[in-house]
Symmetry: C2
Subunit: 453 residues, 2 copies
Amino acid sequence: MSIKEIDRYIESHLDESISELSVLCRQPSVAAQNLGIEVCANMVAESLQARGFDVKILPTGGSPVVFGERKGSNNATLIVYDHYDVQPPEPLDLWESPPFELTIRNGRMYARGVADNKGNFVERLHAIDAILETEGELPCNVKFIVEGEEEIGSVHLEPFFKEHREMLSGDICLWEVGGVDHTNTPIQMVGLRGICYVELRVKTANQDVHSGTGGSIFPNAAWRLVWALSSLKDQDENILLPDYYDDVVPPTDREKALLAQQPEMMAYYKEKYGLKNFLKGIDDELELAIQAVYQPTCTICGLNSGYQGKGSKTVLPAEASAKVDFRLVPNQTPEKVLEKLRAHLDSHGFEDIEIVNLGGNPPAKTDPDHPAVKLAVEAAKDVYEKPTRVIPMIGGSGPNYMFQAYLGVPIISSGAGDSESGAHAPNESISLDLYIKGAKHFTRILKLMHDYK
Amino acid sequence: MSIKEIDRYIESHLDESISELSVLCRQPSVAAQNLGIEVCANMVAESLQARGFDVKILPTGGSPVVFGERKGSNNATLIVYDHYDVQPPEPLDLWESPPFELTIRNGRMYARGVADNKGNFVERLHAIDAILETEGELPCNVKFIVEGEEEIGSVHLEPFFKEHREMLSGDICLWEVGGVDHTNTPIQMVGLRGICYVELRVKTANQDVHSGTGGSIFPNAAWRLVWALSSLKDQDENILLPDYYDDVVPPTDREKALLAQQPEMMAYYKEKYGLKNFLKGIDDELELAIQAVYQPTCTICGLNSGYQGKGSKTVLPAEASAKVDFRLVPNQTPEKVLEKLRAHLDSHGFEDIEIVNLGGNPPAKTDPDHPAVKLAVEAAKDVYEKPTRVIPMIGGSGPNYMFQAYLGVPIISSGAGDSESGAHAPNESISLDLYIKGAKHFTRILKLMHDYK
């Protein structure tokens, strides 16, 4: 059977695939809020079973992992990593259509999780349907690992990998996300930063107090938090944890050369996000590219204290909290960051600030010249208008280090994402065109896997 | 008619007065949220009309002022200042009974506004009923000024005073709140700090961004806010606005002597609020009393940015805001504070921080030895178990300076408040015992007014 027949199936059965995606998006599955997780895991399991996969729903101590395996016509094994959990949909008032109702507008599908990463999961099922319908069997073994805690740092995945190392083994891992950049160039993202996500909490009294009574004489939780946070990073963006940069490994020359191939981003970012300028006075494209991904971060993701409603309330807050994420670059680890953070707070007089560890993982990268990366680039050739660009490291995070540490596999990417996808933001979306292209790319990866081993 | 008969009326008609208070508390009237204001103003007007007052509901540009006047048997005029607006009830989950449903538990009445200051208003009506029922007329002229924006800084009251100076004139002003301290000693509060309440806002992008994308290179609204706030006050509680303390007038010897009569507060505060210690290492009772009210403050009342839900969301917030109140001591003014705040932010590189003025007023005080204060102390003698203590200045704020600047009247206090009242906090309450005592105190103030002029 020819690839044309497979492509024709993908195009002519698009509506069925969108229906399936629509049902999956309708099911909220917010790991951070423990919302709809079990139900969504069952839906994922059923959809794999419907394609003849041998499926297990495996406990992890948190959200279960759905594992599905189907043999192919040779011995090479592609591991497909997806996740069924999504980011919280808030702030709700910024969504133009309900977050859990897949809505098509101007050639794009909108829903929480449609880009990250339910869309890719269903697109991959659609590609598998196309191959099975036209060829009757898969060209290689395929193992799906679909977890439910990616958006909260894959907090239970490492022991799961330790326990099931044998079952999970394979030759290449296909990552959950992928697609094109804002110039419509397909990309292979072969490295991810690590992350250490914490909540900082402080409580200074057993109740809020009238600010007239306590303002001059009582400790104020909001002030304690503000002072503690301001001690973590100076206004020049230097993170002030002790010896924080000691473990940071700069990019190799090869990685820099790959980053130099990146399209111009400055004007694009300024326009898209309404930015006036970049941090640290960066005004060079390569410098921006390097800083964006080879520097660790300390980002306040949320602040919460006292009265936040309309107008004024004269209250002295008893409690305050901040969500903070640290993006990590080779060779940083979340464990070390937690240690340094505690030491820093203690040594700066902030013993009263509690650190709640909300999860994390170290960074990891695949050699950009690995044969698996070449395979993924080759597979994209006749699908996209432009040749693939290999990106040695992206700013985001994920549990890819586990695949490398426990399974020893290189990581490649594929998917329907683009620069408008807005993963984690309101109005998350993917384009119908890239949904089809992503499915086609995946069929070609499967076909090339046939001769990989 | 004897005062005993009046007291008997107050005691025997308590249930009717509580019913009236219950109806008033059931009506939300949150100025900060523009909730129920007009309806509540009408209720206040009707309740004054029912006591034979000549009532006007007067526009101010914001919440209307209810003005009611009734002639008495001599020419002295007592101005009674009350407000029908209340603080927002949030956080709702900390209320043990619904905030807008007056609930009696263990001899206390609970509801938003019951202490601040609907309870005092209805208690005063109750006292007027007692006098009118037993004596048929009031011993002096009484003018009620009941405004609806006290909780948001009386933002429209000053032009109202300018316009209606003649109509509002009188001899003594009875303040909205009053009562006893935590040792059950009746108090006369003759000075109030001023206030300048602002919201600081910053916006760094047109939308939230994935923290993996922007963390190293995009400005972060939450960080901008944290840095700007931390520049306003150091960890030793020094407010860093330019020349901020230049206008601060220290207490007089007489004021210090009055503060020295204050009961011990340190152990009390520690226990009540679960505090470990006080700011600035204060460990002396008089020093605490002075610092509590004769120092200006800069209090963060609220912080708001990004994700505040359960668990983690890896977002870089585009917007952040803080509510901040500055309590002012003689001779500071809110206008000067606003000027200094803008100058400070600009000179520290925070031109991007917007200041929203949410209202304010200057501090003001009555001479603690004024004949009017003596009258109020005398009126309390046979009502309370202990002699009255005169407090030269309290930590809270209110528009008392307007009464002094435009009407030139001294200010005295009376009411049902005590140390458990929790004005502005969840479970705001007053005791039934002090409600009766407050009414009795008010009848005696009215009686003594007969010979004031």
